[in-house]
């Protein structure tokens, strides 16, 4: 397939005055269709303007090249007109003359009258009829940019290049101009590349958003497809179900790049002390009630007690950030959703297997499934009612809208439990509803703006929806699988091998913190900590239910006392049972998230470092748990026999095609980023 524009392995290397080299762009590869609108997004200095200039021909790539309609770009030309950030109007010419200069030069073969009509048409297009004979210094910034756009469009470029076209304008003018540009591009089917800092602008205008990593050696980090149909309208775009997901994705990418920049600027050196290899740890957590053990370990001095004197808790925006933070060694360890270390070890989402270690479960339970209050008010009281609603054929009365439910990460227990719950009611989570990945803290906002119809998330986000009258809790995980492992301490296997004593100290500190958290006398004090902005930052009213107070489902009933809603220590909570992880592996495979490891016994043994757990418990004089191998069942009483997981897996009617694969961990064991 041939493309309209091809940026082919472009490198741009600048020679520095001191004889060195600065590699601004490294191996940029981008292909565009005719009529496509692509935005380049990234932090300052990521080389996005350099890339734009290379496409314009104003700058030459050191290696590689740009091909427009099969011809290599070697010099600037009017077929690739640029709208510059600072307008680049000639101040001694009027609006008309500025456009005329371009039109006369580029379209010199047309008769004068036709050229004049082209100029006039484009002046009208951008609504500058009244300013036709004004000079640029008599115009506002927005008007100047409109002239620049009119000038660019008048000469009918094949490719329109916009360098932060609206960066210097006030919000109102920017909004108007974005609408105008969008309309013009849609009407004239222009192929556009725009450099921007503005996340919403990129989402509004683009078909694809190219997010670039920081320089030096900037690359394309991620490309987002914006699925909304043209012609677009601002409000429709903002209310599109994927808008916030895409927006979050972009913001996450940019934040990650920002942190990466910070991390590069300060070189982290392992500080060894007290017989530990490293006492300066960065540990990631997501603001949720069950981050309590990490918070308590730091605030109550359990880390310090075990020699970990310089622990920094890094508040992460999403589980994806946690995963990438640990995978890239930015974080030493993290609170992880239970399925995440398993999925990372088996390998998912096109990334190779990365062996992880679990020696400690940080919490059990703590989740709930919330549905929109409107759906509840339609009479949905149970899973059966919801299945009937979802499967109801489209007719005039229910605007044939598909239902979207929020999950926090594909490997989280929320996803697996929600899917299990839906499937047990006959709802195929991949066919009958949409599942959207949204960070927990943004669930309520998305529910409120009707982007989603419900979600499965940890607290305090269910109680908040209940508290604000937006949602109703349909089930807690006590109703689905009481006592399931929820959050675990996730670390890379190579990290554990490098810092074994540190890891043991970390497990011990957190084990003590977990015990502290489960003592109900301490809960009020922990609540006060949780409500601090550096941790969850939530309001006590909706952080209390389940954690301290009775749990309110929001159905007008008396709140129920669920003493094990947040379970941190009691009943051998911290012991990572292999059989529970095995169940998670079956579910990850059931929904096509990871293949099922043929060598699951080996994989689980490798992940579950029970020796560390045992040693920690012994040294703390805590009771030592033993592995459990008894078959168990969830609420639907389908027995799970750990000796035959594939039979269990194969008996589900609702499932994705299951892939079974041998996972070779040794080939990956030495992989370290």
């Amino acid at each position: 397939m041939s493309f309209f524009v091809e940026v082919d392995h472009v490198d741009r290397i600048f020679d520095l005055a001191n004889g060195g080299q600065y590699i601004a762009l490294k191996n940029i590869e981008l292909k565009m269709q005719q009529g496509e609108f692509v935005s380049l997004v990234g932090h300052s200095g990521c080389g996005k303007s350099t890339l734009l200039n290379i496409m314009a021909g104003l700058d030459q790539p050191t290696n590689g090249g740009v091909v427009l309609e099969g011809r290599e770009v070697t010099q600037p030309g009017p077929d690739r007109m640029v709208v510059f950030q600072n307008y680049s109007l000639l101040p001694w010419l009027t609006v008309y003359q500025n456009i005329e200069l371009a039109v006369n030069k580029v379209m010199s073969d047309l008769p004068v009258a036709e050229r004049q009509s082209i100029i006039d048409r484009h002046i009208d297009l951008v609504g500058l009829r009244n300013a036709v004979h004004k000079k640029p210094n008599e115009l506002s910034g927005g008007m100047k940019q409109r002239v620049a756009i009119a000038r660019a469009l008048a000469i009918r470029p094949k490719l329109l290049l916009l360098d932060e076209p609206f960066g210097a304008l006030d919000a109102l003018t920017r909004g108007n101009l974005q609408d105008q540009l969008m309309r013009i591009c849609e009407e004239s089917k222009i192929t556009c590349v725009m450099v921007t800092h503005d996340v919403d602008e990129a989402l509004l205008l683009s078909d694809r958003i190219v997010m670039m990593t920081n320089g030096p050696e900037a690359q394309i980090g991620q490309i987002l497809h914006v699925p909304m149909q043209h012609p677009r309208h601002r409000l429709e775009v903002v209310n599109h179900p994927s808008y916030y997901t895409l927006r979050n994705e972009m913001i996450y990418f940019l934040n990650q790049q920002k942190r990466e920049k910070k991390r590069k600027s300060k070189k982290v050196v392992a500080i060894a002390r007290h017989g530990l290899e490293k006492v300066n740890l960065d540990i990631g957590f997501v603001p949720l009630t069950d981050c309590a053990p990490l918070m308590v370990a730091k605030e109550m001095g359990f880390f310090a007690k075990h020699g970990l004197e310089e622990v920094t808790l890094s508040r992460e925006p999403s589980w994806k950030a946690i995963l990438e933070g640990v995978a890239s060694n930015r974080l030493d360890a993290a609170q992880m959703v239970a399925g995440m270390p398993l999925a990372m070890t088996v390998g998912f989402n096109d990334s190779p297997p990365l062996p992880m270690v679990i020696s400690l479960v940080l919490s059990r339970n703590g989740n709930a499934i919330t549905l929109d209050k409107d759906i509840y008010d339609q009479g949905v009281r149970s899973l059966e009612d919801f299945a009937a609603l979802v499967k109801q054929p489209a007719n005039e009365s229910n605007e044939s809208k598909s239902h979207t439910l929020g999950i926090v990460h594909s490997t989280s227990m929320h996803n697996l439990m929600l899917r299990y719950w839906l499937a047990s009611g006959g709802i195929d989570p991949d066919q009958d509803v949409n599942l959207a990945v949204i960070p927990p803290a943004q669930m309520v906002a998305n529910l409120q703006s009707n982007n989603i119809d419900g979600y499965c998330a940890g607290e305090p986000w269910n109680s908040r929806a209940v508290h604000e009258g937006l949602g109703v809790v349909m089930a807690t995980d006590l109703d689905i699988w009481a006592g399931h492992p929820e959050k675990v301490l996730g670390v890379r296997e190579d990290w554990v091998n490098q810092y074994p004593q540190t890891y043991l100290a970390l497990v011990k500190a957190l084990m003590e913190a977990c015990e502290y958290c489960d003592d109900r006398r301490n809960r009020e004090e922990i609540l006060a900590l949780l409500c601090k902005p550096e941790y969850v930052g939530s309001i006590p009213e909706y952080t209390r239910p389940g954690f301290i107070d009775a749990y309110n489902y929001g159905r007008g009933e008396v709140p129920r006392s669920l003493l094990r809603f947040n379970q941190f220590y009691v009943d051998r909570s911290n012991y990572p049972q292999q059989i529970e992880s095995l169940w998670i592996l079956t579910q990850l495979a059931r929904w096509g998230i990871t293949p099922f490891p043929k060598n699951w016994v080996e994989v689980l043994q490798r992940i579950h470092r029970l020796d560390v757990y045992r040693e920690a418990a012994q040294e703390l004089d805590f009771p030592i748990a033993e592995p459990d191998r008894l078959p168990f069942a969830l609420f639907d009483e389908i027995m799970f026999n750990p000796d035959d997981p594939l039979a269990y897996l194969n008996q589900f009617a609702i499932a994705q095609p299951i892939q079974v694969k041998e996972i070779n961990l040794d080939s990956m064991a030495t992989v370290a980023a």
Binding site: A56, G57, P76, P78, S88, L90, W92, L101, K105, P136
Partner: protein, 275 residues
């Protein structure tokens, strides 16, 4: 806008004038007071020292023919108008040459860094040479005081023109160049549509400085060596002991210099309305 009858015009004009006067009374009155005080001090000074004629004397002695008929002609005796015209003619030729050559050289060295580096030290040295120091060389080359005067004007006025033009070219925003590149303007189109208009403000700064220097230079040159011109008139009057004529000529020089400066400024504002 109001529609005025023919009869209404003068009255509205007059009222406009009176409004103008009211608004700008201070600006008009202050210089008048300043002049009056200066003339008074001068009169007192000359009355006491007797070294110079006072203002009253000057006017009395030069009233006829120099003040009332600037353009009289009796043999070699010419009115100050003629003398000033002769000087202005030299300035016009020398300054025009300086402007043309200066702008051309300025554009050249502004656009080509190596050319700038090549000539800059030389020009910096030549620039500081006082105008009159060129006179012997000019006379040696041209053997005549007319072309020599023109040469001195040229060589005095050209430096600010060169340097300001060059700075204008160097300071030209990259944006304009990018516009030219993207539109693929030819050399001529680039020069006339982009480069020249963009350097106009810089150019006129140079031209304005140049005209002041040129006027300074010509008077000095004519005093040393000349048979016409206002400088010659001064020297001639001094030799014939008529200080009043000298003082009147000084007044002419000042007023003409002032007007020349304003003239160039007017052109500049006319051409570059963008600033």
């Amino acid at each position: 806008m109001t529609i005025q009858t023919a009869a209404g015009v003068p009255s509205s004009f007059l009222s406009n004038v009176s409004i103008y006067l009211q608004k700008h009374a201070r600006k008009l009155v202050a210089p008048v007071i300043g002049f009056t005080v200066a003339l008074f001090v001068w009169q007192v000074f000359s009355t006491i020292t007797k070294a110079l004629p006072g203002p009253i004397e000057v006017v009395q002695q030069t009233w006829d023919p120099f003040i009332i008929s600037p353009f009289f002609k009796e043999g070699d005796d010419k009115g100050l108008g003629w003398q000033a015209l002769a000087s202005l003619q030299r300035v016009a030729i020398g300054y025009t040459l300086a402007a043309v050559v200066g702008i051309a050289v300025g554009v050249l060295i502004g656009a080509i860094p190596i050319a700038y580096e090549a000539v800059d030290p030389m020009f910096q040295i030549l620039r500081t040479v006082p105008p009159l120091a060129w006179l012997p060389i000019a006379l040696a080359i041209f053997k005549d005081s007319g072309p020599a005067g023109i040469f001195i004007i040229f060589v005095t006025a050209i430096w600010p023109i060169i340097y300001n033009t060059a700075v204008g070219v160097q300071q030209m925003p990259q944006d304009y160049k990018n516009v030219a590149k993207v539109l693929r303007l030819s050399g001529g189109e680039y020069f006339f549509s982009i480069l020249l208009p963009s350097i106009v403000p810089y150019m006129f700064t140079g031209l304005k400085l140049g005209i002041g220097l040129a006027w300074l230079a010509i008077v000095a040159a004519e005093m040393l060596r000349g048979d016409t011109g206002i400088g010659f008139f001064i020297w001639n009057s001094y030799n014939s002991g008529s200080l009043s004529e000298v003082i009147l000529a000084l007044f002419y020089i000042g007023v003409i210099g002032f007007l020349l400066d304003k003239l160039i400024g007017y052109f500049a504002s006319f051409v570059s309305t963008d600033k």
